[in-house]
């Protein structure tokens, strides 16, 4: 069965510092992988996605993620965090089996706080 773990429930970083959010998944084949961000009271915004090809994926707002098949990981990184990055971050894995089927499994999320 598909599953996603995000080991860090909450992370606090200083503005300007680098950031890495961890994500591990369990899936029988190469999945689709996503990172979403959610600000309080709002829906989910897609930061980046991995379908195939280059394992280093660039996203919006200066984020990037690297797919490591051997470690079943898809960690999110940003070299310099801005105060506006404070939010909840979700890693997610999607099924590949059917072209019209979109079941996506989300991790429990990591809450990011940014201190000035």
């Amino acid at each position: 069965a598909q599953s996603v773990t995000q080991p860090d429930i909450h992370i606090t970083v200083s503005e300007g510092a680098s950031l890495e959010l961890r994500c591990n998944y369990s899936y029988g084949a190469t999945p689709y992988l996503f990172w979403y961000v959610q600000s309080p009271g709002q829906g989910l915004q897609l930061l980046l996605k991995y379908f195939s090809g280059d394992t280093l994926v660039q996203g919006i707002k200066g984020f990037e993620a690297e797919f490591k098949r051997s470690q079943s990981s898809f960690n999110l990184r940003k070299p310099s965090v801005h105060w506006s990055d404070a939010a909840e971050y979700f890693c997610a894995v999607g099924a590949r089996e059917e072209t019209s089927y979109d079941k996506v499994i989300f991790g429990p999320g990591t809450s990011l706080s940014v201190i000035p």
Partner: protein, 111 residues
């Protein structure tokens, strides 16, 4: 183009009541999925509809049902509401494979 729109934004119900949540996908998007997000957790998949047919169902009881209309809008119905149904209900639509666009959700509170 407008994004995914959901209505209402907030809703308060009592136990045992029934509720209907609505979702309008982005124009041209034929797939709509519903998710439940309990406070402090990640979203959980409830349903996916594609071209008005149910294509996927998550691990939710039969009290949850949905449908998709010819204009691709969708409704999520929940009967016999329980306290545990209190959550943010998210709708997502997509046109191409795998890239879902989420609405801001409906916050449902059960008293």
């Amino acid at each position: 183009d407008a994004g995914v729109t959901q209505s209402p934004t907030h809703l308060i119900k009592t136990r045992g009541q029934q509720v209907t949540l609505r979702c309008s996908p982005i124009s041209g998007h034929k797939s709509v999925s519903w998710y439940q997000q309990v406070l402090g957790q990640g979203p959980q998949f409830i349903f996916q509809y594609y071209e008005k047919e149910e294509r996927g169902r998550g691990n939710f009881p039969d009290r949850f049902s949905a449908r998709q209309f010819p204009n691709y809008s969708s409704e999520l119905n929940v009967n016999a509401l329980l306290l545990g149904d209190s959550a943010l209900y998210l709708c997502a639509s997509r046109k191409d494979r795998g890239t879902q666009h989420f609405g801001d959700g409906t916050r449902l509170s059960i008293l």
